[in-house]
Amino acid sequence: MGGRYALMLGCLIPSRLPQIEAACRRVFPLLGAEFDDNFDFSCCPNSPFIKPLDKEAWLTMAARNLSLVEEAGLTIATPCPGCSNTLLEAKHELDHDKELKARVNERLKNIDREYKGKANVQHLLQVVVEDLGLKKVEAIVKTPLKLKVAAHYGCHLLKPSKVMGFEEPFTAHSLEDLTKVVGGEPVEYENRDLCCGLVLGSTHLDGSLDLAHRKFSSAKAAGADALLVTCPTCFLQFDTGQMRAAKKFGADYSIPVLYFAQLIGLAAGLTDKDMGLHAHRTKTTTVVDALKGR
């Protein structure tokens, strides 16, 4: 089963991590999914920084984003769990609080829009697992990726679980399932469910690096060749932030970071250049070596 989705890229992916956008655009058509780019999405807006400042403004902007697709009747699909989290939380609040919804709609009137509550939202991993199916991924694998992979779910893909409605946070297994489907081996490691720590960096840099260190060292101890992520914030922390943590803790993690669509693309025979691995800050040598001899 394929389908057409309204693509919401968010902020970080198109601006700082376009390799993730490139990977999604090149991989999803192979799985039978089509993206519609014709929606004027703004920042979702960001839940760790904007919601703590002004929740009502946060809700209002989220309601605008949701309202954009209501007429077209498309599901919003996003590569960013920050976006899916904000939109689903906002939807949950607006759909359960009539007064709030009326207040937000009063503001939306100023730009001739209305939030009705008809839009659906999915993270792209959810699109793969729930709509397209892992069988579809299996069918396009050309080069089994013989890599040991440490899955990192991050926070907002799954939590709050009652609102996100995807997998249970502590027993999630879709990334491990995906890893097996592309020929890799998921590793069990301590701290799998720990936050990446990037957001903490704005108020407590040492704490932020401490969380990253726990992640790298436990993934490394379990023999992981790569960290698998679903989120641009986690990607930044683990890829760009890896050198900083390595310096602070005098460690050499050398563990490449892969966004889940890159993992699928590489296994499907797309090149490391197609998947934008040359744009990564942490060397992806172990991944590229695993592809050699295809």
Binding site: R25, S42, L53, H204, D206, L211
Partner: protein, 167 residues
């Protein structure tokens, strides 16, 4: 508008609305088991942020005056606390309500207001320096930008617009 506690004492610097809001997040159900703090990555990494203690203060009717240096800003909104809470207290919601009050009073860390400024400038929380080059490097064309005029109009009259873009 200010409220009173059960003994008739005034509630301090915050409005009765905030108490109502905080109660709606389930504060009265908290029995201080500390599963929230045990599950909290920021508590683990900083040793300073402690959501259980903040809720205890609120249970005792002490509304902490939030400053830009307050540990409450170390909450990363990951919702691990809410997954762990046996009484369905909306711990992250409480941390957000407190911070909203801080922001209203002009007390938020620069790391936060900087992001608000980015949002008000372009409609995205992203620095746009070097974007074209980064996109060309992976074979992508120009980045699509949202209609910022429409977003500014939408945010007219919000705290975010009033305070976020100020500095």
């Amino acid at each position: 508008m200010s409220g009173h506690d059960v003994e008739g004492n005034p509630l301090g610097p915050y409005a009765k609305d905030l108490h109502t809001l905080l109660d709606a997040q389930g504060i009265p159900h908290c029995y201080q088991c500390s599963r929230c703090t045990s599950a909290c990555p920021s508590a683990l990494a900083t040793g300073a942020f402690n959501p259980r203690k903040i809720i205890l203060q609120l249970l005792l009717g002490e509304l902490p005056e939030v400053t830009a240096e307050d540990t409450v800003w170390m909450c990363v909104n990951c919702h691990s606390c809410e997954e762990a809470c046996p009484k369905e207290v909306r711990v992250a919601g409480i941390m957000n309500a407190l911070r909203n009050e801080g922001f209203k009073a002009g007390k938020a860390p620069k790391g936060y207001t900087g992001n608000a400024n980015l949002l008000l400038a372009s409609g995205l929380v992203a620095s746009l320096q070097g974007v074209d080059r980064a996109r060309t490097q992976v074979g992508l064309g120009k980045m699509r930008m949202p209609n910022i005029e429409e977003i500014r109009k939408l945010l007219e009259g919000t705290e975010l617009k009033a305070k976020g873009g100020g500095n």
